[in-house]
């Protein structure tokens, strides 16, 4: 009986001590930090340049950062944050990542069976990735694993961005050993899914969906909407062409945004992807 009493008393005493300590050593925090943090995506992707969402929220409350720096927050949430902090909402362009390769397993064959670590950067050190196209997607999903939003999926040996999930945080960009990922304005209606600087004939040999540098899209669009960089057509993101231009591409390398992910899913039989 006395044991129970002693334990109860010790418990009460220690509890009281903690309670006093909490009051005594309380750290003043701005309640707005927590409110702002709740409005952020909390994926801690680091695209804002801060150590994480909490750090970013602190910076915003301290007026050293603006909500527009976070590419992943919805416009609505940005407005709410600005209202909360009494700042002006700046104009933002929503961005989205694009994997500039359309060479899935069906159109761009692997050169050999790669047998090793399932990571693009490790694979690129073995026979340069064992894909006939030396510039195409290796499809081992290093970018997909890096994406904090689950917006990249490897379909038939090709990394495909789901634009509705992508927030344009650009965390995937540096993970690609072939530098295939570019962050473009989300409003761009079409993308060129090829990044190979090789000559058209060489590209055609290794991939059926390559940009062969035929310039048909240049003529189909208005002046300056598409520019040539060597043998590769590039979209001018400041003056993008309309989705209709995709029809002009003989290799279907020029793809409307929404269709890119969908076509990969529907028109292609799931291919046997090399064991990694």
């Amino acid at each position: 009986m006395s044991a129970i009493m002693v334990l109860v008393l010790v418990g009460l005493g220690l509890g009281l001590l903690i309670g006093i300590a909490v009051k005594l050593f309380a750290v003043e925090t701005d309640p707005r930090i927590e409110q702002v943090e709740e409005l952020l995506p909390n994926a801690n992707c680091g695209a804002c340049g801060f150590a994480g969402c909490a750090d970013f929220a602190r910076a915003m409350v301290g007026q050293t950062a603006s909500a527009g720096q976070c590419p992943s927050t919805s416009d609505d949430a940005v407005k709410q944050i600005c209202a909360l902090l009494g700042t002006e909402a700046s104009q933002r362009t929503a961005m989205v990542a694009v994997v500039k390769c359309g060479g899935n397993a069906a159109v761009a064959q692997a050169a050999a069976h790669y047998n090793g670590i399932s990571d693009c950067r490790s694979a690129s050190l073995v026979a340069s990735g064992a894909k006939n196209c030396l510039h195409g997607c290796l499809g081992l999903g290093t970018c997909a694993r890096a994406c904090p939003f689950g917006a990249i999926e490897v379909i038939a040996g090709l990394a495909v961005v789901h634009p509705e999930l992508c927030t344009g945080c650009a965390k995937c960009v540096a993970t690609c050993p072939r530098n295939l990922i570019e962050v473009a304005p989300a409003s761009t209606p079409v993308h060129i899914l090829c990044n190979s600087p090789e000559k058209g004939a060489a590209k055609m040999k290794v991939c059926k969906a390559a940009c062969i540098g035929c310039r048909k899209c240049l003529n189909a669009g208005d002046e300056g909407q598409i520019q040539m960089a060597g043998f590769l057509a590039k979209i001018n993101y400041d003056n993008p062409p309309t989705a209709g231009i995709a029809a002009s591409c003989p290799t279907k390398c020029l793809q409307p945004v929404a269709a890119a992910a969908r076509s990969a899913q529907t028109t292609l039989e799931p291919c046997e992807v090399t064991n990694g």
Binding site: N115, G116, I117, S122, V126, A127, L134
Partner: protein, 443 residues
């Protein structure tokens, strides 16, 4: 009494040399076309001296060194330059190359005169000749020989070691060379010793080549060259391990052999040096082993640079059955390739084919910390621990744990019971750490 010298770690894979170690070196017939890569060495790319439709002679210099660490390239036969373009390389990427179509006459270029009086020639002239002949390390690394012979002041060299270890399983090119042209190797050793101005020369040979050891010992009986019999243990032929086994000197971590006064050259390189100096013949051909269980008649061939792999395989009679792996080099450090149009280069010591049964399927399990990789690592780092760090992308930690000291010899992956791709992990880490260092240097 055999002397056996030791180094830490290593493994003992099945050596597989019996397939080709009794096959005498055969000359390859002249080909119609050679696709000659310009970058056959470590270092700066050479400067091309010819253009399309130029006529060239056998041994004519067609590209000159593009820097201090670089090497000249010579035409493998006489004929016409029919293409200046690209060829596939062993690492999967393409590289600049020229195509030479043979005129069938195989006329030799005479610009390098034989130096019959090399014993009295100025060492500087000997070095100049070695550079002009485009000689690079033929054991695998393809490091320009002239650079090794030109140590910076303050790094005195007193020991020359010829590497006749050939510790890679399956390869027999150096073994055959030591049996068939021992005179060349010894002359090469003397030329190299003269150009370095040193007396102490060792030839290190693994104990599994007793015939080569006996022959070279007989021929060097009254010279300053000492033939050392070494324990059969992979990687006995790795530069730092070889130096340690023979001289007991430890090359400092991150250092070079010259830091301990040593120069190591492959025996094939020494033979090439002798040919360059005594015969005035630049490096345009080498001995390559074509072997493996799927090969119809494995053997050793004298192939000219620019010979495609397919031609080398045809010389060996083709294959019985489709191989699952095609490897340039040996099974421990060679590169697996997937094209038959890759040309033979100055460092292609072997072409190895593996049947599907011989190929290890990648099945990486968790590290069970058995420590076999630690026991096997000749550089005494901890590959198992490193691979876990690298899997978690902790490259800074891997750098602290000495990932950069890895020589990629493959002992750890070979021995790992969990089948972990330790070498591939370490390659990745080394690439990341180098990229980080480069970025830091630019800042």
């Amino acid at each position: 009494m055999a002397e056996h010298f030791l180094f830490h770690g290593g493994v003992h894979p099945d050596d597989g040399k019996s397939l080709s170690c009794h096959c005498t070196i055969q000359d390859a017939p002249l080909l119609e076309k050679y696709l000659l890569p310009l970058q056959q060495h470590i270092g700066a790319p050479p400067k091309l001296l010819v253009k399309k439709n130029d006529n060239v002679l056998r041994g004519q210099c067609i590209a000159e060194p593009g820097g201090f660490v670089s090497a000249a390239i010579h035409a493998p036969t006489s004929g016409k330059v029919t293409l200046v373009g690209e060829c596939p390389g062993a690492n999967g990427a393409s590289m600049p190359a020229i195509e030479i179509t043979s005129d069938g006459e195989d006329k030799a270029d005479q610009s390098l005169a034989p130096m019959t009086d090399w014993q009295d020639t100025d060492p500087e002239l000997l070095k100049k000749r070695i550079g002009a002949a485009g000689i690079v390390g033929m054991g695998g690394a393809a490091f320009p020989t002239l650079v090794k012979l030109s140590p910076p002041p303050g790094k005195p060299i007193d020991v020359l070691i010829l590497n006749g270890v050939e510790c890679e399983p399956c390869l027999t090119a150096d073994h055959r060379l030591m049996l068939e042209s021992p005179g060349r190797i010894i002359a090469g050793a003397q030329i190299l010793a003269r150009s370095l101005g040193l007396e102490k020369v060792y030839i290190g040979i693994e104990a599994n080549k007793p015939d080569a050891i006996r022959q070279l010992r007989d021929l060097t009986a009254n010279t300053n060259i000492k033939v050392v019999e070494l324990r059969v243990r992979y990687p006995q032929g790795a530069e730092k391990q070889l130096i340690y086994a023979i001289t007991q000197r430890k090359v400092p971590a991150g250092g070079l052999p010259m830091d301990v006064g040593c120069v190591v050259q492959n025996v094939a390189t020494a033979a090439a040096v002798a040919e360059a100096v005594i015969d005035g013949k630049p490096l345009y051909e080498r001995i390559t082993t074509v072997t493996g269980s799927p090969v119809v008649s494995p053997g050793n061939w004298r192939l000219r640079m620019g010979t495609p792999l397919s031609m080398a395989l045809e010389l060996a009679g083709g294959v019985h059955s489709d191989p699952a792996k095609l490897i340039m080099g040996g099974p421990m450090m060679g590169t697996s390739v997937y094209r038959l149009d890759i040309p033979i280069m100055k460092n292609t010591s072997g072409i190895l084919l593996l049947s599907p049964e011989e190929v290890h399927q990648f099945t990486s399990q968790a590290c069970i910390s058995c420590g076999r990789c630690v026991d096997a690592c000749p550089m005494t780092i901890m590959p198992g621990t490193l691979s876990v760090q690298i899997e978690n992308e902790a490259f800074d930690l891997a750098e602290q744990w000495n990932a950069m000291d890895c020589i990629e010899c493959g002992c750890c992956s070979y021995i790992c019971p969990a089948g972990r791709p330790l070498v591939q992990h370490l390659r990745r880490a080394k690439a990341e750490i180098l990229a980080k260092r480069r970025a830091a240097a630019q800042k």
